[in-house]
Symmetry: C2
Subunit: 348 residues, 2 copies
């Protein structure tokens, strides 16, 4: 291969959710969102991108197997278009992508965020793109939430207003070390593939939920409050806002047509138990993405309390703890697995 | 006793929900609601009201036992105040109320609607009030949804705008015989008393849900569509509107703070199964009050299909079928049970 780069990225957990696209192809959101990028020593996608003129067709290897992936194919086209002017040689080369998650991809943990962040990080390194804004835009073209995972620490995806998306990318609100005491306790309830993807769910909501307009108004006000809570390290305010935002998102999903449910009875029990835990003072905040699995954010000093709470809930199958991470990054060194696939797919 | 009247009333099932009060004491709603009053030969409250000057203290007998009931005590005061001018002798007499439900009061079927409708019907008969509007207002003072149960067939509670509630009462959209083919298939999932009463749930929503404003706007438009569907006997439109309204109400409950859940995994399965059943043409509409139990409205010709669907769902404990009813009414004849309590509580 002419150029080979390997990157690692972690999922992020949104405190203010991205829910609803104003542009499906360019992945442009209706509202700003804020997230914590997780610690990539716990949970990560590792992706190697190889570019070669000899490679006539792009090849995608996911968790060791060659796959046809429409989302990635679409992204490759968009990403190529983006670098065509500055690095035309890159745009003309075939691409071999070898990607792997160290966590179950079907477990409802944002694998598309870490996946497209790692892919974009590696691709940008191949094309010598180092600008954080540009990297975030390229990641966004794969998956909206991936725009945030390229940024470390506390990240805000500014949704922008332009139809071409040039003002739609993530910026850092605060680095990892600003509030390194936070931890995301992920309670795996179900590893079954969800019936309704987040893409479908959010499209349905934006199109069909009459409550959605009120959510957008509320979220716009919430963004400011969450920014402030992060900058002041005001855990109580952060926890309240993130829980309300999660409820609001799932409420609009329920209001879409046909209704979309991601929470189940176990999720609901965790919500109720978290409120009980918070009765004598806020120690935890829950949030749920497009699935039943719970993310409970707490400060490390309260980690045991949160674990104890979750252990009481029947139906919690596994607990993963991830702190705040530093964003996507290039890793050096040879990738043996990748070399194997080069041999197999690259014509001599 | 000087005056004794017995009345029977059935619960009603709201197709457009009453959710949120602008006045707690007078039970004034934020929005109009539309319901079907159910058949009182299947499901009913039977209430006898006895009035006597000799009775110094009001006595309430509920399902055979003397109870202290704040809601009823509050209603008695308001109802007395209302008749004080026209029938001062009534307002001065003590009241013995003997009331009974033929269905489990804790099963999440609107027992307060049938209860206060029967109580108001009997009390109004004592006071020689025959005006439907006045009867509906007096029932409303006990429970908002009771204002609709005094009306037979298809009933719209016009929420009104006046602070004194004089323009807030139910009117008949169509009589029972207009669309007698409809049936409410009630799937009892749980007879456990709900953790959060509908009173609390709706207060929380109106106060804390930012999505609530959007619901009110949507409901105001829905009322016109549901009126039209009833008048045209357009089942498809009726079913779609009622399902969307139920989802919208439960969405705002989830958006309140702390969030309120009435639906559980079984409710959710019934929702999903109903959508499947409707895939080849709309045959059923679901709606859920402040509890997990499902009300599936269908035309009688599709009753078996709906029953088959419900029988497949694990967790459905009992099915009750009730057609459209004629509204609250006075029944003649002696009530032996009542006579027993007269003996016990009326001083000689």
């Amino acid at each position: 291969m002419e150029i080979i780069k390997t990157a690692v990225a972690a999922p992020n957990i949104a405190l203010v959710k991205y829910w609803g696209k104003r542009d499906n192809l360019l992945k442009l959101a209706y509202n700003d969102s804020i997230s914590i990028t997780l610690d990539d020593s716990v949970i990560f996608t590792k992706t190697t991108v190889g570019l070669s003129e000899k490679l006539k067709k792009d090849v995608i290897i996911f968790n060791g197997k060659k796959v046809e992936d429409e989302k990635i194919a679409e992204w490759i086209e968009l990403a190529r278009g983006r670098v065509a002017k500055k690095a035309p040689e890159i745009a003309e080369m075939g691409m071999l992508i070898v990607t792997k998650n160290n966590f179950p991809s079907s477990a409802g943990i944002a694998s598309s965020a870490s996946g497209f962040a790692a892919l974009s990080e590696a691709f940008c390194a191949c094309a010598k793109i180092t600008d954080a804004k540009e990297k975030s835009i390229i990641a966004r073209l794969g998956s909206g939430s991936a725009s945030r995972s390229v940024i470390g620490g506390f990240s805000q995806w500014v949704c922008g207003r332009r139809p071409d998306g040039e003002d739609s990318y993530a910026v850092q609100l605060a680095p990892k070390k600003h509030w390194d005491e936070l931890v995301d306790v992920i309670a795996i309830i179900s590893s079954a593939k969800k019936k309704i993807s987040s893409k479908e769910g959010m499209e349905n909501t934006a199109k069909n939920s009459p409550l959605f307009a009120c959510r957008l108004k509320e979220v716009n006000e919430r963004i400011g409050r969450v920014q402030k809570a992060i900058l002041k390290k005001d855990f109580e305010s952060l926890a309240n806002e993130m829980m309300r935002d999660s409820n609001s998102m799932h409420a609009t999903a329920l209001d879409s047509w046909p209704p979309v449910f991601y929470l189940n009875d176990v999720s609901r029990e965790i919500i109720e138990e978290t409120h009980k835990l918070n009765e004598r003072g806020i120690v935890a905040g829950y949030t749920f993405d497009a699935g039943p699995n719970a993310h409970i954010i707490c400060e490390k000093k309260n980690l045991q309390k949160v674990k104890n709470m979750l252990l009481k809930v029947k139906g919690v199958k596994k607990i993963i703890c991830a702190g705040v991470g530093g964003g996507s990054k290039i890793v050096e060194g040879e990738n043996k697995e990748f070399a194997k696939f080069v041999k197999k797919y690259l014509p001599k």
